[in-house]
Amino acid sequence: MKPQHLLAAGALAAFLCGPAAAATLDLVEPIAAYKIYVSEKLQTLVTDTKAFTSAVKAGDIATAKRLFAPTRMSYEAIEPIAELFGDLDKAIDSRADDYEKAEKSPEFQGFHRLEYGLWAQNSTEGLAPVADKLMADVTTLHQRITDLALPPEKVVGGAAALMEEVAATKISGEEDRYSHTDLWDFKGNFDGSQKIFELVRPLLENSEAAFVKKVADNFDTVDTTLAKYKDGAGYQSYDKLTDGDRKILASAVNTLAEDLSTLRGKLGLN
């Protein structure tokens, strides 16, 4: 398309959409509410990581194993924001795959290094420095985000990003490959995505009623299916997921990822 056509199309779009100004500042409330949600999750993450890393350092394998999955949930819920800092995301949440020598790479650190030690090696030997580093990194993350004005397009785009994350790594069971606690992470991603959707929903309820209903229905489907695997405060091992439910989740999650990827455009943030 030639530039003048682009300009004409842009002008037409602006005309058809009416004045975008009023609509965009309506995002201030949802983004502010989301920041508060993120802050609360981060406080929980810091508290939970303290307990988890303390158990690792104390050599208490059983307690550390029990605390691993619930601790991660807060991180998974706010991943679109946590991932904004490249250095910390690598330090906290990179997987063995990301390194040339996989588990043997000295750079392999963070949650998954501890997971590997606890489950694959059933030991806390040599994990104390990894635990200290994780605690320090999570604390730094909290501090950095406290002062950060969240970029609106990252927040709104985060709803789809979380579902893509679920689709790409959770349903395949490769994220928590040693502990098989993927359903916990799944729930964290899911809650984080749904939160974003619910916060911007009032801005779309009138103009995009069919879209809103479709997305809400798919969130319900995921919620109902996941609920079948609830076990106490958490979730059953990933192995327990039946093929039928895996397909239901896959279909709903894919549709959610695709639908939610239009959210930024619908809210004028592209």
């Binding site: 995002l27 983004i31 490249g86 995301d89 040339e100 004005a149 790594t169 395949s172 895996r246 943030l269």
Partner: protein, 394 residues
């Protein structure tokens, strides 16, 4: 590890079929079913920049592009699920994670002029480089003020600040009121300045509600019968009792009303609709109001806790300055530096007045000292005015 996957699915006109086939394959192979973000289009005829991730580097590993919006098509030709991301220092601008071997994913990035690093597959691989050159459009953007959309993030963060400070104000006021109810004069005196801090931090916005301001913060000077006036309520009424009278007697009604008022204020701060001017002009207005009179005169006539008040005012102003700073166009970088300098100057001026870790009584700051402090706030107000004019959404 250096051989590339030969059976990489290539986008073609038969893509729907390929997608379906791929979907069946991945479903069958244990649920790696995700394909929603894989390009469904033919080879990029839309000017997408193609990058191939190999086992040890990207091809190309160095990219040069003009500023603006770009689509990247990332092809994972390595044997591992990998990621590709554009980094500005430690900040991730855009990323694609978990690109499966043989697959392609797209990402769109709006790029400003500058040099960026690229995470290319394995984290141990050398970083790639992306050099984005200025264009006539990006030069124009660097000179123009921000659009309304650019204010959403800063205004949201300011809203969060107001809500958090509102909560802190209510909590600190509850403590103060509880001490008064117990008749604990010493404790109540110690809690007076901390309670005011929350109020001062939100003053730029709280000032818009005259009813609450007249109830929370009236000074006896402005009332006909001064301290004996029925309108003498709020913080200074309590201050008068605690510091001039050294008693909690008779303060309970004023304390209860103050708590009700700050609770109402908190609710209004939570519901307030903010516009760009509230941030830019609001900060300038507050700094000038302090500089023109209040600092030299002092506001806490009985407790003389003005330095703690000003410290809290600075916290509010510094927050606002920090939020508007990234909106200052690149072409006006000097203005951004000047703003930093003015905020620092006020901070240092206040710090210099501390004895040890605490602020002394304001009686210890003489007229010349107060004038100097007012001057620092005035300089900040002047700079904030310039910033405000520069940032008016056009």
């Amino acid at each position: 590890m250096s051989t590339e996957k030969s059976a990489a699915p290539r986008p073609s006109r038969a893509m729907p079929l390929a997608v379906a086939a791929a979907a069946v394959l991945v479903l069958a192979s244990g649920g790696l079913f995700y394909y929603a973000t894989i390009s469904k289009q033919a080879a990029p005829a839309d000017g997408a920049t193609r990058v191939e991730i190999g086992a040890s580097a990207c091809t190309p590993n160095e990219l040069a592009l003009p500023a603006g919006r770009h689509v990247f098509e990332i092809h994972n030709a390595s044997q591992r699920p990998v990621e590709w991301e554009i980094l500005d220092g430690i900040m991730v601008i855009e990323e694609r994670e978990n690109i499966l071997p043989g697959f392609r994913q797209r990402l769109t990035a709006s790029l400003k002029p500058g040099t960026y690093e690229i995470t290319c597959g394995l984290l141990s691989n050398p970083r790639g480089k992306l050099v984005v050159a200025a264009t006539a459009a990006s030069d124009a953007a660097a000179t123009a003020g921000p659009d309304l959309k650019a204010f959403i993030g800063p205004l949201s963060e300011y809203k969060v600040f107001l809500v958090m400070q509102g909560s802190a104000l209510v909590a600190a006021t509850q403590d103060l009121v509880a001490a008064i109810r117990r008749g604990d004069v010493a404790r109540a005196r110690a809690l007076y300045a901390p309670a005011r801090a929350g109020y001062r931090a939100v003053a730029a916005v709280a000032g818009r509600w005259a009813d609450l301001q007249n109830s929370i913060d009236p000074a006896a000077d402005y009332l006909e019968k001064r301290e004996q006036d029925a309108g003498f309520t709020g913080f200074h009424r309590i201050e008068y009792g605690l510091f001039a009278g050294n008693t909690t007697e008779g303060l309970q009604p004023a304390a209860d009303r103050l708590l009700a008022d700050v609770t109402t204020l908190k609710a209004r701060l939570g519901a307030v609709k903010l516009a760009p001017d509230d941030l830019t002009q609001g900060a300038a207005r507050l700094a000038r109001r302090l500089a023109d009179g209040r600092i030299e005169r002092g506001e806490n006539a009985y407790a003389h806790s003005d330095l703690a008040d000003l410290d809290a005012s600075l916290a509010g102003l510094a927050k606002m300055a920090r939020l508007v700073r990234p909106l200052i166009p690149t072409a006006a970088a000097d203005l951004a530096k000047q703003l930093d300098g003015r905020v620092d100057a006020v901070r240092q001026a206040l710090a210099a007045l501390k004895s040890g870790d605490v602020y002394p009584s304001y009686e210890r700051v003489d007229a010349a000292g107060r004038r100097a402090l007012a001057g620092d706030f005035r300089d900040l107000a002047d700079t904030l005015d310039t910033v405000s004019a520069r940032l008016s959404p056009g």
